[in-house]
């Protein structure tokens, strides 16, 4: 009997866990990619002070507006000006 003749149910039974494993792997890779992207975006938000502004809004219970941003800038101006940039 040729091996092809045996395929049928036997192959299906063997392939199902394999497919599951592949799907699980793909999901894991996708999840880690999404996680990495989220971290990357979080890094950008922190570097570009968007997170700091959000924290300020939360702390001061304010909505984002030109006035709120002006207060935020005033609050952070000293720290920003004193922060050295490296060579």
């Amino acid at each position: 009997m040729s091996p092809i003749g045996l395929c049928g149910a036997d192959t299906l039974v063997r392939d199902m866990p394999q497919a599951k494993t592949l799907r699980a792997m793909a999901n894991a890779i996708l999840a880690s990619l999404v996680r990495s992207f989220k971290v990357f975006v979080a890094v950008l938000h922190e570097i570009f002070d968007e997170s700091a502004y959000q924290r300020f809004l939360d702390r001061a219970h304010l909505q984002s507006s030109p006035n709120a941003y002006a207060i935020f800038l005033r609050e952070t101006e000293q720290a920003k000006s004193r922060r050295p940039r490296c060579c």
Partner: protein, 678 residues
């Protein structure tokens, strides 16, 4: 992963690194591929991070995951914020990466690619990364105290004063040297000058947009600014090709210097939100993007290095800057291997964001590895150039001659073939009138980067665009440092003057702002002016001076770290900071001695002053040399004082005549560990 596999993996990484290092060190006579440098660096960094930083964490610093950091204890949502380690890493890297690791290796390439590459790799793993890591951790354990505060509390009053003077000096000299790089890159370049001029209204536009139209949307504004800058680069080509416009933007070095000095003063006195902050965001955006792009370009193109591993200029007769390979290769590379300036960042914003103590290793040691990798890329960008081209761009007219034919003949006589026609073709390809005598490192780096980029993307047709993109990237970087540095210098001066007369210390009092801004701008403006008037090209004097200051600051940081390690009762591990400290002392003191007293007028400031005096030169030039010698001497004496003070403090602790008490904040158990478990 099973332990056996892990061991095998690390053995493989170590062997690969050793093989790559042997290849770059022993290969002679043939060009090697740039990827060998990348493999050698990455493997060494991986082994250094995995084993050496782990040893320091466990044995020397005893990082404690249960100890609450100031970010947790003092969390105020403003300065102190417990932050994800990747976010802190990005923030820290963005702060430490400046033009130094790009310019230093390009200048040091005059010795060949080998000495610089070896120093970048070894210096980072054993010195720079260690310094950044330990200072970060010590600052974390002292509620985020600055280097000067730690020097004062752990070593003594002298330590604090020396650290303060070193920081102020390095800022002033750094600003003068980097401003000179911009002047040299933009002189007689209407395209480059137009592009950089346009970044100022773009930054102001960004500031207004950010404040009035889309408050807080910094990323969006930065993307908008970046698109406008790209448009300015494209329009710049048209400007350079239109005679009436080109005439307006074709400026001489003195005119550019005056404009930059005026700009520095205005930027220091203007509100932060209008120019400084948006320019900073734009520069960071371009910086991170360009560095990533360069890394991709090098890996994709895998260029060959045309520079030999060692050149004849190891003997000190180099045209780019004078001085023997020891100590000047180590002074010149500065930020790519060990940078004292990093200790200011490691004891500034970063320690206030670290969530758990063990994360200091990743941020401090890992951040410097990333910085060092940038230096390796700069070394590659310089070494992919034909050596003749490299020396033609980087040699001052005072050494090789003013006329293109004369310069080409001089450089060819050194064994690095180049012709005036070849340089004219290259200048035409990058949209410049000439590339001769473009000292400072930035234009050479831009040509190398343009070659890598254009071979990866767009071909020769867009080489001019890539060149001006690279020039814009470097100049933007440097002007941001001018803005920020002048302000930081101004605040430091106001702090000091406030002790003499209180109103001068008030940071919001306009007469004080104007006066102190003028003093700081005059200080670095003097160095800039000196640089453009120097017949040897300026960089010959200023970059080594900056390198000496930077490494002296690293000496101060390592003194502080060594004293703290001794006080922690870990004398047996003191070599971790003591060996890099001894090396830096040897390098900086030797370099200072050469710069002050070497009888060769191209090396020694005083010998050069004597030569100028004998030739009846302008007294101003003679004064400049004497001033440089005096600045170097004062810094060396001050660092010698801190060394003596540190040694005495260590001896007192080791002999038992003083109790080993550090000024750490008291232990508080972290709540984050429990939160993470639940």
């Amino acid at each position: 992963m099973p332990k056996v596999l892990r061991v095998l993996l690390w053995i493989a990484v170590s062997l690969l690194g050793a093989f790559a290092l042997a290849t770059i060190a022993l290969h002679r006579g043939e060009q090697i591929n740039a990827l060998w440098l990348v493999v050698a660096a990455v493997s060494t960094y991986a082994v250094g991070y995995r084993f050496y930083s782990s040893f320091i964490s466990a044995k020397v610093l005893a990082l404690d995951p249960l100890r609450a950091t100031p970010a947790e204890r003092l969390d105020n949502g403003r300065d102190f914020v417990p932050t994800n380690k990747w976010v802190v890493f990005g923030h820290h890297f963005a702060a430490i990466a400046g033009p130094g690791p790009l310019v230093g290796p390009v200048l040091a390439a005059q010795f060949g690619y080998l000495p610089g590459t070896l120093w970048i790799i070894a210096g980072a793993v054993l010195g720079g990364c260690v310094q950044d890591f330990v200072i970060l951790l010590f600052s974390v354990r002292r509620d985020g105290k600055s280097l000067t505060e730690m020097a004062k509390s752990e070593i003594g009053r002298v330590g604090g004063v020396v650290a303060y003077v070193a920081v102020l000096s390095i800022i002033v000299i750094l600003l003068g040297a980097t401003a000179l790089i911009v002047v040299n890159a933009l002189k007689s370049s209407p395209w480059g000058t137009f592009t950089i001029a346009m970044t100022m209204p773009i930054a102001v536009l960004m500031g207004v947009y950010l404040r009035r139209i889309r408050p807080g949307k910094v990323l969006e504004t930065s993307v908008l600014g970046f698109v406008l800058v790209l448009a300015a680069i494209v329009v710049g080509q048209w400007v350079s090709e239109t005679p009436s416009w080109a005439a307006i933007f074709t400026l001489t070095a003195p005119t550019l210097a005056i404009l930059i000095i005026i700009y520095g003063f205005a930027a220091s006195a203007l509100p932060v939100w209008l120019l400084l902050a948006p320019r900073d965001y734009l520069s960071t955006f371009v910086k991170l993007g360009t560095i990533s792009l360069l890394a991709v370009g090098i890996v994709a193109l895998r260029p060959s290095l045309h520079m030999p591993p060692l050149t004849r200029f190891a003997d000190g007769s180099g045209p780019v800057f004078a001085g023997t390979i020891f100590p000047f290769a180590f002074i010149t590379i500065a930020c790519g291997a060990v940078s004292g300036f990093h200790s200011l960042i490691s004891s500034g914003t970063t320690p206030k964001l670290i969530r758990r103590e063990p994360e200091a290793r990743f941020v401090g040691y890992g951040g410097m590895i990333a910085e060092s990798m940038v230096a390796i890329m700069a070394m590659i960008a310089a070494s992919v150039l034909q050596p003749g081209v490299y020396f033609a761009v980087n040699s001052p007219a005072g050494i090789v001659g003013q006329a293109p034919e004369a310069a080409a003949a001089t450089i060819s006589s050194w064994g690095f073939q180049v012709t005036a026609a070849q340089m004219a073709t290259l200048a035409h390809a990058v949209g410049e009138q000439t590339l001769f005598n473009r000292t400072g490192g930035a234009p050479a780096f831009a040509v190398g980067m343009a070659q890598i980029f254009s071979n990866t993307l767009g071909g020769q047709a867009v080489m001019a665009l890539w060149y001006h993109f690279a020039i814009m990237f470097e100049a933007l970087f440097i002007l941001t440092i001018l803005d920020a540095g002048t302000r930081v210098g101004r605040f430091m001066l106001q702090d000091a003057l406030g002790h003499i007369w209180k109103p001068l210390g008030r940071t919001s009092w306009y007469p004080s702002i104007l006066f102190t801004s003028a003093v700081v701008v005059a200080a670095w403006g003097n160095f800039l002016w000196q640089g453009i008037k120097d017949p040897l090209g300026g960089i010959n004097s200023l970059w080594p001076l900056f390198g000496i200051c930077n490494q002296l600051l690293a000496t101060v940081a390592l003194c502080v770290a060594t004293v703290i390690i001794v006080k922690m009762g870990r004398v047996r591990y003191v070599a971790v900071t003591l060996i890099p400290l001894c090396w830096l002392v040897a390098v900086t003191f030797t370099a200072s001695w050469h710069k002050i007293l070497n009888p060769n007028p191209r090396v020694g400031f005083l010998a050069h002053a004597r030569q100028l005096a004998a030739a009846g030169a302008n007294p101003r030039l003679i004064f400049n040399d004497r001033l440089d010698a005096a600045v170097t001497a004062v810094l060396v004496v001050m660092v010698a004082m801190i060394l003596i003070e540190s040694s005495l403090e260590c001896m007192r602790v080791v002999s038992g005549s003083k109790s080993a008490e550090t000024k750490e904040a008291p232990f508080v158990m972290t709540k984050l560990a429990a939160q993470e478990q639940s």
